[in-house]
Amino acid sequence: MAQDLITQLKNLRVGPIDPKAEWVAENRRLLLTQIKNTMPVAAPVNVMPVVEQAWEWLSIFMPANVARRVVRPLAVLMVVLLVATQLVNNVDAAYEALPGDWLYPAKRATEKTQVAMAIMMGNQNSETKLHIKLAQRRAEETKKILQRTDTPANTAVAAATMVELKNEIATVSLQLTNSKDTALNADAAKDVKQNSEQIKDVLQAVKNNLLVSTTTADVALSKEVSATKDLVNDVSVQAVEVLVAKHLEGDTSVSKADVTKALDKSLQSAASNAAASKQNVGEIKTIVDSVKIEIKDLTSDFKKQGGENLAVATNTKQFAEQINLVANQTIAAVLKTEAVSASVDKQVTAAQELLSTGDLSKAINTIKQITEASKEAEKISETSLHSVQSLLPIVQVIKDNNPVAVSSTVGIIVLPANGIIMVSGTAVLATTTSGILKVTVTVTGTPIIKK
């Protein structure tokens, strides 16, 4: 029947009619050579306008005539209506949008489209530059979110944005790792280095803002920001590594001067971080020591007075024991950071020597070690700070009619009328006639605690 005949016809697709494998391979080689000969010598500049590219891209997912005759006119109409109704009258509005703003989904959709197009084009360099740029945006958004006062749940939103930032950084890191196998060039690596330094600055500013808060969510976010900053630091060093490798392979787009400058910058950054951590821990120790002395004096005073103040003295003594524990921990932290700082100083000298002799490979390895040491010092500093903050909670001083001024070794502070003492870098103790001892210590400003 007809079906049998059709089956027989289909069976005519047999091997012997296939072309010879040698011809297929040789013809392929000739064809691609001929095609290459028709192309310009220099890398072709894609002159297709971006908008046209977008419509071409759309034709991947739907017939080209549908994209051209239906979707495109509709999209144009939408833009016209939006502009006419002044819903979108500022091209920067979407760019500045933060999570929760009505334009934020449009901003993220645009970014995803840009990423998809970069992937479609197969241009590794554009893709890497885009990801580091998006990481920088997420960092800026996190900073702005935490500065907002009109929106609740800022910490949760900031934490979600940090996750996105980490994802972008992870992507960039992977692309740098695979740079030997892909077409990633020195220009992209320079971009990553530059942007990652800027991201680190933004994240440091975010950390500083979070220092004043002791809520659980903010402390957790602060740790998350620290971890992300470490990742960004690693990516920055990775980018320098790629530049060194490219230079040593003979890539003329990255000169020895470029590489030396990048290495030197990484070196200085790691060294100054280690020094800052050492100084921070030193300052924290000073505060703890001051508090220790005051508690000891007060305990002694209350005991002499006896009676009601004896109960206060007992509470104060317990408080003193806690402070002693923290003080001992702080001393240990000081010793560690001093040791790290000394080691870093030696390594910096060694790295500078290697740079001057042109041993770039060893120099980058030394810088990586310094970076790790610097991270360790920073962690010690943060741990010490959190210990002090948890020990000295922010509370409201309860006043009686006669507030009492207490002299301390670091200065005389009088209780203000509202009973709340805010201190910057000094330990202050205050008592009231009711005997409730409350202490407030708040660390404000930059990570270097100022007296």
Binding site: M1, A2, L5, I6, Q8, L9, K10, N11, L12, R13, V14, P16, I17, D18, P19, K20, W23, V24, N27, R28, L30, L31, L32, Q34, I35, K36, T38, M39, P44, N46, M48, Q53, E56, W57, S59, I60, F61, P63, A64, N65, M120, M121, G122, N123
Partner: protein, 183 residues
């Protein structure tokens, strides 16, 4: 959209926006055997099939670079192949309709049939196919041997989908008559 079609559309997008010979090489690898077979059935000789198949892919590259719309890359290749075969015979100042059968006789048509494993059945089908008029042979080859969709065949030979179905039905009926089978 099926994965293979989506991948092909991605390659075509890249070829239009940032041409890369390696991307075109992927398309070549996908379709070279089909085009070769199609041309071989038309011209009956390996050498001519090789020449025309090479020409088909080069012309397809130029077509894409001219930014002309490509609804179906496979359809484009078959259209170009068909036209190349017609051009071949026009260049020899011979009528293509008559030539298709005669040319096969003059070339290695004998080898053409001998190359099939199940000679008795295949030989009968091939002999009958060879004697069909060009229009019928073409639609049968494209539909059942090359397994193209009706709308693709319609685009290649310049007929409507209904017209292709009607032609196919008549072609199969004719082939059955020639093979002496019951309808």
């Amino acid at each position: 959209m099926p994965g293979a079609k989506l991948d092909e559309n991605k390659i075509l997008y890249r070829l239009r926006t940032a041409p890369n010979p390696d991307d075109f090489g992927v398309l070549y690898d996908t379709y070279v055997k089909q085009i070769y077979r199609f041309v071989y059935f038309k011209v009956g000789g390996h050498e001519e099939a090789e020449d025309i198949a090479s020409e088909v892919f080069l012309k397809a590259w130029h077509y894409i670079q001219a930014k002309k719309e490509v609804k179906s890359f496979r359809g484009l290749l078959y259209s170009i192949a068909r036209n190349c075969v017609i051009d071949l015979y026009r260049a020899r100042a011979l009528r293509p309709e008559v030539l298709m059968g005669e040319e096969i006789e003059a070339s290695d048509a004998g080898n053409w049939e001998k190359e099939f494993q199940n000679k008795d059945e295949s030989q009968a089908v091939l002999t009958a196919l060879k004697k069909l008029k060009q229009e019928y042979k073409e639609v049968i080859t494209l539909r059942y041997i090359e397994e193209l969709e009706i709308h693709e065949i319609a685009g290649i030979i310049g007929k409507s989908r209904v017209g292709v179905r009607v032609t196919l039905h008549r072609a199969i009926k004719k082939l059955e008559e020639m093979l002496g089978r019951q309808i």
